[in-house]
């Protein structure tokens, strides 16, 4: 599998990362060589093997349905550059 520059730019856009043309070329090379390396796995026959989602053999930890509100809105908002009456204020995201 080989990626082209369009795909690299699309991935960058989805990740909200701006790439210069030069950077895009570098990433294209890097990512393609990573893909080549991973593709070695295709040599292994995985018919009838269930996909593994996690390598840990322990079970999912569950908690009881109890609520504890430990933060005040002031604490949650303290890193926010812009806020109003308890709300985060962000640039408008719809027209």
């Amino acid at each position: 599998m080989k990626l082209n520059t369009n795909t690299i730019n699309k991935i960058a856009k989805l990740a909200r990362i701006r790439l210069s043309e030069k950077e895009a070329d570098e990433f294209l090379k890097d990512i393609n060589s990573i893909l080549d390396w991973v593709e070695q796995l295709n040599e292994v026959n995985t018919d009838n093997v269930e996909p593994l989602t996690n390598i840990s053999s322990s079970a999912l930890t569950k908690r009881r349905d109890e609520n504890q509100d430990i933060n005040s809105s002031d604490e949650i908002l303290q890193n926010s550059p812009d806020k109003l009456e308890g709300y985060f204020a962000v640039p408008k995201v719809v027209e």
Partner: protein, 491 residues
């Protein structure tokens, strides 16, 4: 009823599928211990997990899993003993993680089905593809400021069940019946509060049209509808729009739409080049969710009588029509009230239909006038039962009973006490009734002549006058008979 829409050249068929988002009824969120209470001060129920602070790890709420399994059982669905949480990646201001924890390939619940009932007594099965657990996003306010969006993360991380149907629905009414049915099942199960106004239950609607028998057409998805009325309006508008585009020789672009509730129109939400590419992958912070048979069996024991079983009981035991029974069972509170009336006196079983009518017409109108829900009705079920019995036993007429009901509402008294106190007991003694009728005949000789000369319509006049003399207490059947007899004797 035909589902086809007449077009210029041929008929059109509408194909609809729904994705319902139902907030799980729980104290705390799916992966954090923050409260789920609606309407609190903004950002007052946000843990470091919900705010996606670096290094925070999600820990799943056991109760939310149970609620999802319970819902799966209620939807006659397959419970998957093994499911996976995935990350659904997208950027939005009210999603601080940059991804939503959801389930993709391996949902907790698989195929199921629900039945919807039509007015004509027929019904239809709607297939469910899956139900999966996921996190709700925060809430964005766009209309407060021309350049800013305000974000409240209280809802961020609340557990949602996304229930996806097959495209089995064929018109707006079916879609309405389907979401009502899902809502009622969830409320019986107590797994979602069903409050559409507060957004606890909302739906995305997928719509396409086709020539009957053809492959599915290209679909559009209308996002985030939070009332059954809007769902129906949006579908009707969108179907018309798609048919118009196609008949004008155009083609439908697959698009995500928003429904504007004030104009009643749909419009595209985002342009095509920004179409979502969610890049799902298993969340490395969460191990697979495994459920064993014993847990499933224990949850099955918690399933209450559901709308369909209750409906069947009403049809089989109480002789109600399929439609009456489905209307009655659609709202658990109303159905519970009805059950309590019957339970207060089992002889009322035979008059189930009359009890239903008293609940859905008289009781509802008085509750509506006073902005009360049935659960807060001052008239207790056993007293309504007594009232119906008093009508059945001819102690009072239906008309007087309405008066008594108002008094019951105001005083919360037993109807018998009101009748005794106000002397409302029906007069069934023929001598007494005859006396009223005689008086009326005596006072209206001219009318009697007219009646005898063929003006049959005047019968109503005599009935009315005599009833008035009895202060409404004369038994109407006896009164009618006596008047007819007396007037014919004169002939």
């Amino acid at each position: 009823m035909s589902n086809l829409i007449k077009g210029k050249h041929h008929d059109w068929e509408t194909v609809i599928g729904l994705e319902i988002h139902a907030q799980v009824k729980s104290n705390s969120k799916l992966f954090s211990s923050s409260s789920t209470t609606f309407g609190s001060n903004p950002n007052s129920q946000v843990s470091l997990v919900d705010a996606a602070m670096p290094g925070m790890l999600p820990v799943i709420n056991k109760y939310c899993i149970e609620q999802a399994v319970k819902t799966g059982v209620g939807l006659n669905a397959k419970i998957n003993k093994y499911s996976i949480f995935d990350r659904k990646n997208y950027f939005y201001a009210d999603l601080p993680q940059g991804y939503q924890i959801s389930q993709y390939k391996y949902p907790i619940i698989g195929e199921g089905k629900v039945t919807i009932d039509f007015k004509d007594g027929s019904s239809k099965e709607i297939r469910i593809v899956r139900l999966h657990l996921e996190q709700d996003a925060g809430k964005s306010l766009h209309d407060q400021n021309p350049t800013k969006t305000y974000v409240d993360l209280n809802r961020s991380g609340v557990a949602l069940m996304e229930i996806v149907s097959e495209p089995d629905l064929r018109n707006a009414d079916e879609a309405g019946l389907y979401i009502s049915k899902i809502r009622s099942i969830l409320m019986y199960l107590d797994t979602c509060d069903g409050n559409m106004q507060e957004g606890s239950l909302r739906a995305d609607v997928n719509i396409s049209v086709r020539k009957p028998g053809d492959e599915y057409g290209t679909r559009c998805e209308i996002k985030n509808l939070n009332s059954i009325k809007f769902i129906k309006q949006a579908i009707n508008y969108e179907v018309k729009r798609q048919i118009e585009v196609l008949e004008d020789g155009g083609s439908i672009e697959q698009n995500t739409l928003l429904f504007n509730t004030s104009t009643g129109k749909t419009k595209p939400m985002r342009s095509k080049e920004e179409a979502h590419d969610y890049r799902y992958f298993p969340d490395p912070d969460l191990l697979p969710l495994e459920i064993d048979q014993e847990e499933i069996d224990n949850i099955k024991k918690l399933i209450p009588e559901l709308p369909d079983e209750r409906k069947k009981r009403y049809v089989d035991e109480y002789n109600l029509s399929n439609y009456d029974a489905s209307v009655l069972t659609s709202d658990k509170a109303i159905s519970d009230y009805f059950d309590s009336v019957i339970k207060s006196d089992f002889s009322l079983k035979a008059s189930s239909k009359i009890v239903v009518n008293w609940i859905t017409s008289e009781l509802f109108s008085i509750l509506n006038e006073n902005n009360l829900e049935i659960i807060n009705s001052p008239i207790k079920p056993k007293d309504l039962g007594k009232l119906v019995k008093l009508i059945n036993e001819d102690i009072i007429s239906g008309k007087i009973a309405k008066e008594v009901l108002i008094e019951m509402f105001n005083t919360t008294s037993d109807p018998q006490i009101i009748i005794d106190k106000k002397g409302l007991k029906q007069v069934t003694n023929t001598d007494e009734i005859e006396a009223f009728v005689d008086e009326v005949i005596e006072e209206n000789k001219k009318m009697v002549e007219q009646y005898l000369s063929g003006k049959d319509k005047l019968l109503g006049f005599f009935v009315g006058q005599s009833m008035k003399k009895s202060k409404g207490k004369a038994n109407p059947q006896i009164l009618n008979e006596i008047i007819k007899k007396k007037l014919s004797k004169k002939n």
